[in-house]
Amino acid sequence: MRKIALENIDMLFSAISDKMSLFLPVDQNDGKAAYTKWEEGKKWSCALNTVKSPKDFFFPQTEDMMEFKVDGKNIEVIDTRKASEDFVVFGVRACDVRAFDILDRVFLTDPCDSYYATKREHGIIVSLACTRPSETCFCTAFGIDPSNPKADVSAWKTEKELYMQSNTEKGEKLLKVLADVTDEADEEKVNEQKEQISSIMKRLPLAGLDTSEFGGGKTDEFFHSPAWDELSETCLGCGTCTFVCPTCQCYDIKDFNTGKGIIRYRCWDSCMYSEFTRMAHGNNRNSQKERFRQRFMHKLVYYPENNEGIFGCVGCGRCLSRCPISMNIVKVMKALGGKENE
């Protein structure tokens, strides 16, 4: 385990960014944190989390895939990808780290998505334990330990120091690069913090959220639940929940005619949108209720069914704080589980 004094943290950042791009949460002018490329003068945010999840680094909101040159009846396909370079994403919370696992299971299973895979290969993730989880946090419900985040390098921020522990080969390499600016450390302070965090987690309002009712094979049980009507009744059908969600991975492939060629790009899409499943012969999810149900069934039933019981939600709480009508997965779980009035 390595450590560095927080007052010298910029030395750490500059040591990383000498070698590769470094992205970390920085407070924007509205007080909200967003992942930003580090350069001299940028201050690491102490916010619990960013509004937009770090999935953007591996699965960008918009990404050019290829270009077509059309000449009369002929078409030429051009792969416009450039060689990727290594980069570091710093300060990723335990929930978002799990979200990468969830995305991996979608994009890296056969047939592997090369766009995602390349970025994943080149990205080094430094996670960060949560010392001050918020009321909207419920990662423990999905078996995530915010005091002991995974990823390539795990980090703990104490009052005066930052502790780092590598978990993978990539992480090891990074810590070697940082050997000059960090010191060897024991685990005492970290263990202390871990205990502290666990005790806080138990006091959070959503600590008792129960996921045992959900999981693979429960389609019949929940699909026809009358609760969906009421839950989805006032859903606006916007894409906020899906776009701030670290695990939502639906996308659209679209063409843009530049006048000189055609760019085929991929962009985030939302199952909450009315157009999402519309095709020439009709739409199999015509009402907002069906679309709303799809999103939550996917996270709570369909995904675990296809992925050894792992839920498609990580409890980061983004949708809880960002939904325009404050409808969210916690309310859905409580309503479906029949534990609303407990």
Partner: protein
């Protein structure tokens, strides 16, 4: 297919356009050097696209045993199909695939069995691939029946091949029907589900049904009346797809993705899925 190229298509050339009906054409596609773009199994699909217009999934209607080219029977109903219908021979498009599962033509589910194909309208497109495959390996299967219906005589797709080749095969029985009477039509008139009932098929065979959703619904009901079990009925599904590889999140019915786990479903598998298709 190369792993790094799942979403990057190949270029294909339309080498022949056959007009089947007023709104259905059959396109023959090969790569620019005149070869077949890729191998497939009957029932599988391919993603065709016209840059700038869009990409859409189509079932491959030619048989895998055809090693020279692929064919797609396409009905005009959306942006991509409308564009394709205006395309001339020599037009390049892009193609990627094959996607989805196939009919279990090589397993004992089909092998050594009597096969009953039931198609409505453009529903013949995916079945043609299977039928020609089975005709090619004729000894592996017992009798083949086809009940095929459409709105009118002029809407029967692939009529020439059916009349001139299929009817001449031994142990292959073709029953055609149209919805509305026509002075030129001397064969059966009526809807497919009723015709299936009239033909009194015994449930000692495998039924493969494809057509408009409403036709599938009533045909399956008719088959069950005749004593068929869910496990003997196969169909192929169609939902919106963008990626073809089960990642874009559109085509799922419950936990199953049509483009990956489908499009071919046995009816008992479909029964386990929520009614959202």
């Amino acid at each position: 297919m190369n792993k790094t190229e799942t979403l990057i298509p190949k270029v294909g050339v339309i080498t022949d356009v056959r007009i089947d009906t007023a709104d259905i054409k059959t396109f023959r596609v090969v790569t620019p050097d005149g070869k077949k773009a890729f191998d497939h199994m009957p029932g599988q699909c391919a993603m065709l696209s016209i840059p700038g217009v869009g990409e859409a999934m189509f079932s491959i209607t030619s048989s895998p045993t055809n090693t020279e080219y692929m064919e797609f029977s396409i009905k005009k109903c959306g942006c991509v199909t409308e564009w394709l219908h205006q395309a001339e021979v020599g037009q390049q498009i892009t193609i990627r695939g094959p996607y989805g599962n196939a009919f279990p033509v090589e397993s004992t589910e089909f092998r050594g069995k009597k096969l009953l194909f039931i198609a409505g309208g453009i529903g013949i497109a995916p079945l043609r691939s299977v039928i020609n495959y089975c005709r090619h390996y004729r000894d592996n299967y017992k009798s083949i029946n086809l009940v095929y219906g459409s709105r009118s005589m002029d809407d029967l797709v692939n009529y020439d091949e059916i009349l001139n080749e299929w009817t001449k095969d031994k142990e292959m029985y073709i029953y055609l029907t149209v919805d509305k009477e026509d002075p030129d039509w001397v064969k059966h008139v009526g809807f497919v589900p009723n015709y299936v009932k009239e033909l009194k098929y015994t449930p000692d065979r495998v039924a493969i049904v494809c057509g408009p959703p409403i036709m599938i619904k009533y045909t399956v009901a008719a088959l069950k009346e005749l004593g068929f079990k869910d496990k003997q009925i196969y169909t192929t599904m169609e939902l919106r797809m963008k990626c073809g590889v089960g990642k874009c999140g559109r085509c799922n019915i419950g936990s199953k993705y049509v483009c990956k786990d489908g499009p071919v479903f046995r009816y008992d598998e479909l029964g386990e899925l929520p009614d959202e298709y």
